[in-house]
Symmetry: C2
Subunit: 288 residues, 2 copies
């Protein structure tokens, strides 16, 4: 891990955003050289233009919103390689300048998705006006920089720490099963970090003959490869075609290699987005 | 179709939004009794509270953004039934009060997703400031109601018609393969409209035994049922479980019924979101 920590880590969002939290969790330290990026597209470009000394963290799915299809597309189009994954429980916190109580707050600023995920909590304070912003961390930053009293932000604990705000209420999200999965990615030209790989993200295209998907899945079954994600996707530019994104887990890398050589024959196209060590935040059960 | 046209149609968004365009395309007439709803959740509630004389239109996936997982959840939780589908090519148009040229425009207002999808066009006019709004149609409405010169909106042709704006540029989206799929839904207590059904949306849970997904797919294969969508989804409240959303197409309703009785045995749980006639905007090819 040490040589990875020497690299700059590009994240989408402002300092204190959930991408930064995911990076801290994955690398196990707050001493990271984080490079903010305003969009996922720019993030991909920055990484490709600085392949040797940069990594990036990219959100790929959320338990409430679903798979972030655009980000899979960025991985493919920019030829990025997944070298790790991290799951982050998304916790929203109400924060403001120190020494205020919730009764003092007139407005809450945050990203619309964060406001939306805290509506049950906010409904208890009907006097508070909700104001949408571009980014959760940006709302926190704004309160600090403009010394805004009577205004609170909904953002991460990291944002509260960075912008020196006081958390009035922790974990105000309605659903406690709000998880986001992130990929840690590098440019395809870089050597894969060493490690005990037990998971891979691949995509494939199967013919539209009857039974072709079953033949592809049989390659997994015959080699004791577990499926943890399977999604069909329409192909942009050709509304009649479908690709699959698949995540697999395995105990034996040789069996994974054997499966890949068999699936190469059984499908029209197969490509590997990355092989990596699975995140152990919670036990993944296979689909069957 | 006539008795369906007597019903009120709840859509998410303001008059002129893409949901209204989808309704017009599906029913083949502009003479619809459209009820706007600000959120998908409220749309579901309104429909359940007015089961007899209301339908709803709900976006379910987009070729660029992917599947809208929240809306599948609303269908399941509110016990709504899919009675039809429609595909809409999302075309973005630049519109303003009449008799202005693009050189007169200082600001463009629209939903962030629409602005994002038109960045290549907008890059040609660096003098134009981009301003985010809650809704494409709302931006158009705002220009008309406040008689805003020098400001343009990005919205649908329907919005231009409703708010009497002049389209300066048609189809300014970067990707010409921006399609959204919509479901037409009714409350589960209502009788299914008659018709020649050839498509169904189902969801199922398979055990995490080895080969359980293949056994489920074999029920399709053995009955000549074509698969057009297959997605695994994490189960909220249980991060270890997965459901599948599946779309199938068939020529013979009896074979579909036979497949469903077999898949009922092969899976832990299976439920039907709806059987309906497939939309023929473009030919769907099966996954195999």
């Amino acid at each position: 891990m040490q040589h990875l920590l020497d690299k700059k880590i590009i994240v989408q969002g402002f300092p204190g955003c959930f991408h930064e939290e995911a990076a801290i969790k994955y690398f196990g330290t707050q001493k990271l050289n984080i490079i903010p990026s305003t969009t996922f597209n720019l993030l991909g470009e920055k990484l490709v233009n600085n392949p040797k000394d940069h990594l990036a963290i990219i959100a790929i799915e959320n338990s409430i919103a679903g798979t972030i299809l655009q980000n899979y597309r960025i991985l493919r189009e920019k030829q990025l390689r997944v070298i790790g994954e991290e799951y982050l429980r998304i916790r929203h916190n109400l924060m403001a300048l120190p020494n205020q109580r919730i009764e003092d707050i007139n407005e809450v600023h945050s990203h619309p998705m964060a406001l939306n995920q805290c509506l049950e909590f906010l409904a208890k304070y009907p006097h508070i006006r909700l104001v949408e912003s571009d980014d959760t961390a940006l709302s926190a930053k704004n309160i600090r920089e403009n010394k805004l009293n009577n205004i609170a932000a909904i953002a991460s604990e990291t944002a509260a720490r960075i912008y020196d705000l006081e958390i009035l209420n922790h974990g105000i999200e309605t659903s406690n099963v709000n998880y986001t999965r992130f990929f840690i990615v590098q440019d395809a030209t870089q050597i894969l970090p060493e490690g005990a790989y037990d998971k891979a993200s691949i995509y494939m295209r199967v013919s539209h003959e009857k039974g072709s998907l079953m033949r592809a899945l049989a390659c997994l079954y015959n080699n004791d490869i577990n499926l943890t994600k399977l999604q069909s996707f329409p192909v942009l530019g050709s509304v009649n075609e479908y690709y699959f994104h698949i995540d697999v887990e395995f105990d034996d890398f040789k069996k994974y290699k054997k499966m890949m050589s068999e699936i190469d024959v059984a499908t029209l196209m197969v490509d590997v987005l990355g092989v990596y060590k699975k995140a152990n935040i919670y036990d993944h059960q296979t689909i069957g």
